[in-house]
């Protein structure tokens, strides 16, 4: 697969269709490839595409679409929703991107492997539905299903929402999976004190590294409310206690109705806070109150929070449904 993508990227660079390639590069370990920009055919030797390429490349297109010439970008099915949403918000220029839709069998989660007893991971090889881990303290073989990211268990399906061409492993027919809201429902049935304790336990671990904000394709404001402008340098000092304490709620609300549920926030969180459960709650509410809506599925519908009908439910619905 990787070879096919490299070959195609070289062709497109060679015939001048694109002037740069946005993809993934091998990281320092076998399980942490990183997003990277390739500008020459030689540099593509470092290109990788495997189960750990979970990173969503859509957000990089904001900057890249401001540059001269087209950029080739590889998007997995769920990444195309984010790209479409950015097109809708006029943050990226569709004409400046050449999109190759790549297939995805679910992104792998190295932490799940570590939890299941793989210690001192040296090399990971994927073979269809099994993943073999060569580790210092004993080799392990896992079913792929057991070690994919939580977001992939609620996969939106294999269809690409936007693309110029599809790679050979793209499976447009792959069905969406159920159970997207099962974790949200589990929290909803708790009583208020339990819910508060649950979130307190999760959110108190936050170290405010801002990784969730920086990776989020919906968080694309040029000036963010969480940026501290008290000093002339960029730094992470909190602007005030309010933004520090309410960070997650504010961020979830700011992306409500625009979040495509790509799950990047939870993937990058170094403290493993299930941040996507906040966003999914908003998505679930929007679906129940205002009809099913998937951000990024198209580029012309109005977002639920910039729209209304005269027959909308009253806010008292929150009390009435108990």
């Amino acid at each position: 697969m990787q070879e096919e993508l490299i070959r195609r990227a070289k062709e497109l660079l060679g015939d001048g269709t694109v002037v740069r390639v946005m993809g993934w590069r091998k990281g320092d370990l076998s399980f942490n490839p990183e997003p990277a920009l390739f500008e020459t055919e030689e540099s593509l030797a470092e290109f990788v595409y495997d189960g750990f390429c979970g990173a969503n490349l859509s957000k990089y297109m904001i900057k890249l679409s401001k540059l001269e010439g087209k950029t080739l970008v590889f998007l997995k099915p769920c990444d195309t929703y984010s790209f479409n949403q950015l097109v809708k918000e006029h943050r990226v220029d569709r004409e400046k991107a050449y999109i190759i839709g790549v297939g995805c069998d679910g992104s792998l989660d190295v932490d799940a492997m570590k939890e299941k007893g793989a210690k001192g991971i040296q090399e990971i090889t994927e073979d269809g539905d099994t993943v073999t881990v060569r580790a210092i303290y004993g080799d392990k073989t896992f079913d792929r299903e057991d070690v994919i990211l939580e977001r992939c268990r609620a996969c939106k399906g294999g269809a690409h929402m936007v693309y110029d061409e599809l790679a050979s492993n793209a499976d447009e027919e792959k069905p969406a999976r159920d159970g997207r809201f099962s974790l949200v429902e589990k929290i909803e049935v708790m009583d208020p004190k339990e819910r508060f304790a649950f979130w307190q336990n999760e959110l108190s671990r936050c170290i405010r590294c801002n990784a969730c904000r920086n990776v989020c394709p919906a968080c694309s404001c040029i000036k963010c409310v969480f940026d501290n402008d008290r000093y002339d340098t960029a730094q992470k000092a909190n602007a005030d206690t309010f933004e520090e304490q309410m960070f997650h709620i504010i961020r979830a609300f700011h992306v409500a109705g625009r979040c495509t549920d790509c799950g990047e926030c939870s993937r990058v969180c170094p403290e493993h806070i299930p941040l996507h459960l906040l966003n999914r709650k908003f998505i679930k509410d929007i679906n129940t109150f205002y009809g099913d809506y998937q951000a990024g599925a198209d580029t012309d519908s109005r977002a639920p929070l910039t729209n209304f009908t005269t027959e909308d439910v009253e806010p008292s619905i929150v009390q009435e449904r108990g």
Binding site: K193, N201, L203, S204, Q245, M246, K281, F282, V318
Partner: protein, 151 residues
């Protein structure tokens, strides 16, 4: 030691913030006053130009500062001074209140009520009911503690 003991014996006095639209419920509150209708002094009114002016962050701010309940009063749907403001506010508040409920703030602590300038009676009734509800719920969780580890 003494401070805590004192606080325990203190009677619960709720802090309730009411955001009132300048064009309707704020005038409704005036009417309630001039008609000599009583509503509890626990309610602190903040005047806003439209219910739509209430950024969801205002509500969070109120809770962070220790509010026990927040109520938003605006014009009846269809009667907005700016035509459509309250329709947007309605969607926003529905989602925000649902989220606050999800985070563990009891759903009775947030409320939206449509009160026109002519409804002084409704204003005082609403406030009386809401304050009663807050008294029955007791002290609110401290939303600012959401980021603080217990123990």
């Amino acid at each position: 030691m003494s401070i805590e003991a004192k606080n325990e014996n203190k009677e619960f006095k709720p802090l309730i913030v009411a955001f009132c639209c300048n064009w309707c419920s704020y005038a409704g509150a005036d009417l309630a006053g001039s008609s000599r209708l009583a509503y509890p002094a626990d309610v602190k009114i903040i005047r806003v130009p439209c219910s739509c002016r209430v950024n969801p962050l205002f509500i969070l701010r109120a809770f962070q500062k220790g509010a026990d309940g927040v109520i938003l009063c605006g014009c009846h749907p269809g009667d907005c001074h700016y035509s459509t403001g309250n329709y947007y506010a309605r969607r926003r508040m529905t989602l925000l209140f649902s989220m606050l409920d999800y985070l563990g703030v009891e759903n009775g602590r947030t409320r939206v009520e449509w009160v026109s300038a002519a409804e002084g009676v409704k204003f005082s009734q609403t406030m009386n009911e809401f304050v009663e509800k807050i008294y029955s719920l007791g002290e609110n969780v401290r939303l600012e503690d959401l980021r603080c580890k217990k123990n």
